[in-house]
């Protein structure tokens, strides 16, 4: 079953707040489609992000999904996280 848009939006918002609270210095108008690498995401930040995702969403992303393409925006990372 496809995820309902509301659930997707909620997931993206939660991820964005994790990123801006604990991982990166993001501008207040940073969007879920903006490039995270441009905003300073690097492998050190990804390590911490993975731990936060595990705690907040209760899931551990498989290594095959952790790559540059999948982690370039909040929207793309959110799409990797299974529906709650």
């Amino acid at each position: 079953m496809a995820e309902i848009p509301d659930a997707i939006a909620k997931k993206e918002a939660k991820l964005l707040s994790i990123l801006s609270d604990d991982i990166l210095e993001l501008e207040p108008d940073f969007r879920t489609t903006d490039d995270l690498f441009e905003a300073g995401l690097d492998s050190m930040a990804i390590m911490r992000l993975l731990i936060h995702v595990e705690t907040a969403f209760g899931c551990r992303l498989p290594v095959s999904q952790v790559n540059r393409e999948n982690f370039s925006t909040v929207q793309k990372i959110a799409a990797l996280i299974p529906a709650e």
């Binding site: 300073g40 995401l41 492998s43 050190m44 990804i46 731990i51 551990r60 290594v63 952790v66 790559n67």
Partner: protein, 412 residues
Amino acid sequence: MNFPATNALHVKKTDVLVVGGGTAGIAAAVSAARAGARTLLVERRNALGGMASNALVHTLCGLYLLRNDDAQPLTYANEGFPRELAERLIQAGGASGPVRMGKLDVLPHQPAALAAVADDITRRTPNLTVLLHTDLTGLISGPGQIQAAHLQSRGHVFEVAVNSLIDASGDAEAGALAGAAFECAPADRLQRPAYIFGIGGAHETALAGDARFRLAHLISGAVASSQLSAEALGVAFRHGVSQNEIWATIDLQADPYDPCSPECLTRVEACGRRVSFEIIRYLRAHAEGFEKARITCTPAQAGIRESRRLSGLACLTEEDILQGRQVEKPAALACWPLELRENSKGPRFRFPEENRPVGISLDCLRSRTFENLFVAGRCISCTHEAQASIRVTGTCLATGEAAGRAAAAILR
């Protein structure tokens, strides 16, 4: 009878005393001596280079003006000693590049090669005496003037009369010992320290393609399952001058942090060492390409980015840097963006308007307490935010050269 262990120092008097042989101190001592001043450079460790050799910092930043794109020619921000040292390092095979990293041009170098090149340049400089294994332990001053220094080495204490003094200690140690005014950011705002170690024996492709992402996944999993300490989350890997050399840098939170407290430094060093060995053991067992990896070097000291800043006749600010403000007759140019590393939120770069370099006035290199006290390197007179730009080695070399020239010029 003159027993070796009681020998006194031959130097009793010097025109310029340079305290600290990091990038700033090397530049300061060479330029003061070349300007004709009898110069003494003292360094407490066994090698010149400071952070850029003893803490294993392995990239020279701030040497080149910022460029909007690769099509623009590459230009040294400061032509004198910074360029000379960079070119000597490249010639000696101790640096390769420059290379473009994102929007920045940098020169990767071998820490030990920088120390060796510095030995060679200083040895060939007339009027200059270098003393390694020698600590400044005290200063004697009169009103507005520093008169003499107490140096200590291997159980000897020497007194040396000085005409002028350059604090290139990185931590404004000379200023603090003399009772000069200085500032220091509160503990929670100070740039974080880091522990850098060298890795050899990894496969050449160990960091290729998406390998850094796989390593991030592996290490975060190990931390989450308590197989690695949480500090391992601060680690980043980078190739050295040669492809089969890897540098690992662990940014440490180190709370409660005080870069001038021996208790804190002891904790930072021990933590860095422990986590380095944990990481390498884990990578050997679990990471592709790291099966035969081993630690090839550990630093003589952990990397300290920021501590005291000497208070000068002027103070360089964040706005000066972001606006690329010019001064009449700048002593040196700074061109590195503000790179704030106050917490684990990763590096934050803030670039100056139109990528313009900022002019550093000589007044930022002069103590406001003592007329004959100069300062160079990462502890010049600036705000906490501005320090996030001027601390890079290219700028330290430039402020060192300027302070050396100025200190030599006030010969009585």
